[in-house]
Symmetry: C2
Subunit: 322 residues, 2 copies
């Protein structure tokens, strides 16, 4: 639905992602975790288990930090939730998703004011060595690190998905060259539940470079927008050279698993506000579960942005259009 | 099946448990955890969720230590595995199970050489503030603490279940008045996966008072028995006044979820070896999933014990006999 609407509004701007290989992934994720993701499905089958691979048991509070060798134990060691299973096509899907983000980044590094990576699966819940929340590789983090490695000085990642971007926070928590901001439902009330509080401000060199804006049930666009404006002001103070937006549209009032109250037209305003930051901007797709409205809401953000700035859509796999 | 066999072998010794109330439970478990267990099912239903209450998302490595307020989040905060659901009768069942253990203890404190608490649900995976592995309240730990509070000087808990007694270890990990020993499948290979390694020897005052004997797949009774003898030697050096045995029989060769290779007659020898320690002994039932053989194997332990010492069975709810 996103592609349909993109194709109507921006004919000729949709392109397939390039293959960026494994190096940008290895720059962000733990090697043992990547081994696990790549071999998980084979290991799961070889163990005699049936059905999709899912976590059953996890390192509860006060557990040891040792990783199990059995695949059943590894699932819980690397997982953060049982909502996310692994099967035959998971690894390949995750790889193509990061290529969508990196292709959008490449367009922006090449001079476009903005580009949109239609990433599926999403990425913001994937930490350095953790999967869950339908995420395996952190597309936004991979793009941010790739930008840094290409010479971009400072990168800000703004996560506007309804859920906290725990994975992105985790990856850059001790860093002062990548600023992370997230507006989301209070984790005391909603997934990911155990991370994303306002007192999580970074550690070590990263203190002050992590910012969580936490809101209760039934939050409408007014206070949400205030947080967006405050966050973009922090992005400007930080001196960001590039903005990456983790774009989830599950803040929508009709989203079935979320509890904010944004209307479709609010997403247009959101895009305008983001454009006002005046930065080269890469949008990567995160969550959104009111499926019938995803296309409208995502594209509203992009058209809102474009109403203040030119943008080009990149990183889209036109084969998905069928 | 256990009761049937007990009734045949020991007519007149089976009795219903007494009600010991909440104080012995509160002496071991966290108050907020007990509140959670007691109100979980109502909270789950009130939230609009359907089906049994199960954890979905948990405090993964590097999460905050804040407890969520939403019941969905609490399930993962307090849970260690998705194998254990909570519904209408869970709380009452857990309470009656600890009464079985405490009734067996009372018989031993009253002068019996040994007694057996037929505890259902089991307890050894329940930590101070964690449930899982079909366990909610730690019956062995509650009995041990109650014995201490009744004036017993030193208590040893020997966990012979196939799975590590992570909950019991957790509860007494910093204590030198309760010795915990466990013989079990290597946690790198099997549940509970993240705790139960040999290098976990206690902390603070408890250093040296926690001992894990870890074995690989297909371990037979020979090396298992050597560990039992070594452990009982440690119990003697410790100067225990009371022995509590967490009696799981899932070490049985035909157990469907375990990988040791004990034969039914090995359980008889196990009972004899335990009796040789010469201590007042409380047996509490833990796991065992080869259901047709549980009765034989459990009672083999008890008859083996009795062949060297008198014993009386207590804490049994004869209503279960139907």
């Amino acid at each position: 639905m996103i592609l349909d609407r993109m194709g109507q509004l921006y004919p000729g701007t949709v392109s397939e992602p390039d293959d960026f290989g494994m190096a940008p992934v290895e720059a962000v994720h733990d090697p043992a975790y990547l081994d696990f993701l790549r071999t998980c499905w084979d290991d799961w089958q070889a163990s005699g288990r049936t059905g999709d691979a899912v976590p059953v048991c996890w390192p509860a509070r006060r557990s040891s930090d040792k990783a199990p060798t059995d695949i059943g134990g590894k699932m819980g060691y690397y997982g953060i939730a049982i909502d996310t299973s692994i099967d035959q096509g998971t690894w390949e899907a995750a790889l193509s998703s990061k290529d969508a983000a990196l292709s959008a980044l490449r367009a922006v590094l090449g001079g476009e004011r903005a580009a949109f990576g239609l990433c599926r699966p999403p990425g913001h819940h994937a930490a350095r060595d953790q999967f869950g929340g339908y995420c395996f590789l952190n597309n936004a983090a991979i793009a941010a690190q790739y930008a840094r490695d290409q010479g971009v000085g400072k990168v800000a990642i703004f996560d506007v998905d309804f859920h906290h971007g725990n994975g992105t926070q985790d990856i850059f928590y001790a860093r002062d060259d990548v600023l992370f901001l997230s507006i989301h439902g209070d984790p005391k009330l909603v997934f990911p539940y155990f991370i994303g509080h306002e007192d999580e401000i970074g550690e070590g060199a990263g203190v002050g470079f992590n910012r969580n804006y936490v809101f209760p049930r039934d939050t409408a666009y007014g206070p949400w927008r205030d947080a967006l404006v405050a966050g973009l002001s922090r992005v400007r103070d930080f001196g960001a050279d590039l903005l990456i937006v983790s774009l989830g549209v599950d803040t929508f009032e009709q989203d079935p698993i979320s509890f904010f109250r944004l209307h479709s037209e609010d997403f247009t305003d959101m895009g305008r506000v983001i454009a006002w930051a005046g930065l080269p901007t890469v949008f990567v797709l995160e969550g959104g579960y009111a499926v019938a409205d995803i296309g409208v809401n995502v594209v509203n953000v992009l058209t809102g942005f474009e109403s203040a700035a030119e943008m080009t859509a990149h990183g889209l796999d036109v084969r998905d259009r069928a």
